[in-house]
Symmetry: C2
Subunit: 136 residues, 2 copies
């Protein structure tokens, strides 16, 4: 398998310190968190605004990468399921996908809603949620 | 910036050979394409089914990574905009996010709708589109 290098463009600051504390998805009770970006990418952030709906991509650095089947939601009564049919962090490339809203912006620090990623999780990207065709 | 290694778990087979041929988003006229996976991740695919709505993550290997502002949709009359407010492939980590439907499955080959990624683009991940809470 060919390998490529992804770069951490920032880190999550969250009250969630361990996996046991984190909800399984952002909309299951995850707290707000701050995204703290490297100064080197500041220019790329300049059009983000409070209220924007965005998709944050993270690197789930505490996940196992050699897992191809899991019990969904960690429930041993559910049959083993291919990871690509689940949102488990355990997968060959543990990239987290989080749909959140921007609550506040302070320079290279952006506060977002409903983020289930743990404190210290590296950030890879932010993308806007696409609106209808005529808004692009 | 800390670096991490992502692995290509497969490649896109598409009639789109060059960027000039590709629509800007999947829902702007992109053709069906085949995702051809490495045999090593086959077990992870086993619960995917025809008709599933999934999110495919790709590595946009023909993008420039040292770009922080772009003219949206390549239109020079639009003001330069931070890449994190756009879906431009040009960005520090050129990860493509594609919402598609599974049309057909043949072993390690999965055909999907509406994919604007070019032929040969490495695949990083597949995730299900999340349904409502009671379906998880």
């Amino acid at each position: 398998m060919t390998a490529f290098e992804v770069l951490s463009i920032g880190r999550v600051e969250s009250p969630l310190l361990e996996r046991e504390q984190a909800p399984r998805q952002g909309d299951e009770g995850a707290p707000p968190a701050w995204l703290v970006f490297e100064q080197t990418v500041l220019e790329g952030l300049r059009n983000l605004q409070r209220g924007d709906q965005v998709i944050v991509l993270t690197w789930l650095d505490r996940a196992q990468r050699d897992v191809l089947t899991v019990h969904p939601r960690g429930d041993p009564t559910r049959p083993p399921t291919g990871v690509f049919s689940t949102r488990s962090p355990e997968r060959p490339n543990p990239i987290g996908l989080h749909r959140v809203q921007i609550l506040d912006i302070d320079g290279a620090r952006i506060q977002v809603s409903d983020l289930e990623a743990l404190d210290g999780t590296p950030i890879l990207d932010i993308k806007p949620v696409l609106g209808s065709l005529d808004e692009r």
